[in-house]
Amino acid sequence: MPEPLLSLDGVHTHIGRYHILQGVDLAVPRGGFTVLLGRNGAGKTTTLRTIMGMWKASKGSIRFAGNDVTARPTPQIASAGIAYVPENMSIFAGLTVRENLVLAARSGEIDPKRLEWIFSLFPALQRFFGLAAGALSGGQKQMLSIARALIEPRELILVDEPTKGLAPAIVSNMIRAFREVKNAGATVLLVEQNFMAARMLGDTVAVMDDGRIVHQGLMAELAADHALQHRLLGLHLDKHQ
């Protein structure tokens, strides 16, 4: 079995006196779309932030592309090839759409072909390319946030709840865009609460509860097993079908 691109081995994270991650074991295979599911407060966002070095793991190890990145500072982890799309439309409001994208390009220049591809995914960004990012709508800000992670090929993209708070039409657009990203061969670890969206995108799935991974396997298996969904996620999927 090939070595996963990213692996977390017994990772613990403390935030102040709170013990949030309590031994997370997670493997993200190269070239696949892994979805991290779980209820609110299960530790999904903390997992992504710990991978990025924003919260330091107090125990355990994180390996990325064969290297131990557990103790590395955030900029080094980002430079190693991990793009991070935080929740809540994390754009730089005072800068233009273009400037936001240029910032994310490590070379300082945008590849025109790549930009064209991004515009095909999110046409609104082309329309408002020279406009201050703060003036965009919520959905457009989220598109920009994702576009920033796509502006250069990255080995791994971490995405935290991209559909949160968005209108259904924009969610569909977002799912279409992620399918394109998936077809382009990117490796993605997606945190998502929307199971319908997760099911359409995920190759593999991990479910978190109380700071631990309680299930990891193929998404197709979870999607087909209603009893398992109910047990892990409290879902009655037949109601959504």
Partner: protein, 355 residues
């Protein structure tokens, strides 16, 4: 051509452009427009403060760093030139050595403060800079053998910069080209060059990263930018420019003392100039410095005139007395912050729909 000079950062609002042009032309032609020592003194001070305030805006407005040590770097510039001119001799070599040494000392000190304290939260950094600046002011006052202590240093400048020097016997537009005029133009062009360099910095990719850090340092780190390194570089650039402003003031005044460079009142003035002009807009430094220095120098005279005109009106004459000028300056500041929360530049740009 103009776009390259301004690094593509145009005023973006015609009223702002008009005001900036008026200030630029007035400062460029000040020796020929006004007679007497005071107007030229005010114009030179405006030039120096434009550079000082713009360099502080690089920190506060563009990077989001609150520092109270900016006048310390200003003082390092002033004392650098003063000590070199007083101890080595009144020649250009001393000016060059003083300027270079001051800029290096300011840069190194800013780097050390930055690397040691820019990791802490903004309020603690502000407190650390306040402590360092206070310690430096005490040191400058105590080392009287070098700095002249509380009395400061008076010194001679190179011959060409002395008031007695005449470039030619004739006049240009009725003004004799003497050492003061030459010094003024050195101050004017050096301040202009420094300002354009700062404009280039904030409009470069480096400047964009600083703005990203100001908005959210976590996000900037997640994109791969080491925040402490960027903040430290900004801090060094800002300190070096402040030191240059200090050198220019030292050349103009031919005197350097704690009150002209290191006082906390100057730090507050600089802070007010940035806020009134508009944080995060280099042009705000031009407007803020011009307005505040004009108010500081002419408000008292204006109040005196108004007080005399209203001498028969009860309360009004007391309220408009020349002694009350600081009260009115305070009221003007409160009104400007209330009506122009984004500064005058921000307001003018908003009026014309530009960000």
């Amino acid at each position: 051509m103009l776009g390259r000079i301004l690094s593509g950062d145009f005023p973006r609002a015609w009223p702002l452009m008009v005001v900036l042009l008026i200030i630029l032309l007035t400062l460029a032609l000040a020796p020929f427009l006004f007679s007497g020592a005071q107007p030229l003194n005010v114009a030179a001070k405006i030039c120096v403060f434009i550079l000082l305030v713009a360099s502080y805006d690089l920190l506060l407005g563009y990077t989001g760093i609150v520092s109270f040590a900016h006048t310390m770097f200003f003082g390092i510039g002033g004392y650098g030139a003063a000590i070199a001119l007083a101890r080595i001799g009144p020649d250009w070599g001393s000016v060059a050595i003083g300027t270079l040494a001051a800029m290096i000392v300011a840069g190194v000190l800013a780097l050390v403060i930055g690397l040691f304290s820019l990791r802490v939260r903004a309020i603690f950094f502000a407190m650390i800079t306040l402590a360092v600046a206070t310690a430096f002011a005490v040191l400058a006052s105590q080392l009287s053998g070098i700095t002249g202590g509380e009395d400061g240093l008076s010194y001679r400048v190179p011959e060409i910069l002395r008031p007695s020097f005449r470039l030619s016997e004739g006049t240009v537009l009725g003004t004799a080209i003497n050492g003061r005029v030459i010094t003024y133009y050195i101050v004017f062009f050096a301040a202009l060059a420094g300002f354009l360099v700062l404009l280039r910095i904030v409009n470069s990719p480096f400047g964009r990263v600083l703005q990203a850090i100001r908005e959210n340092d976590f996000r900037a780190e997640a994109l791969g930018y080491p925040v402490v390194v960027y903040r430290s570089i900004a801090s060094v650039a800002s300190a070096v420019m402040a030191a240059l402003a200090g050198v220019l003031l030292a050349l103009w005044l031919r005197y350097t003392g704690p009150d002209t460079t290191l006082s906390f009142a100057i730090m507050i003035d600089v802070l007010l100039m940035v806020v009134i002009g508009g944080m995060g807009t280099m042009y705000g430094a031009v407007i803020g410095a011009s307005l505040m220095i004009l108010a500081e120098n002419y408000l008292q005279a204006l109040m005196k005139g108004l007080g005399e005109a209203a001498s028969g009106v009860p309360f009004a004459s007391a309220l408009l007395s020349a002694d009350r000028w600081l009260l009115w300056l305070g009221i003007l500041f409160i009104l400007s912050v209330y009506f122009f929360p984004a500064g005058i530049v921000g307001k003018l740009r908003a009026l014309t729909g530009k960000r």
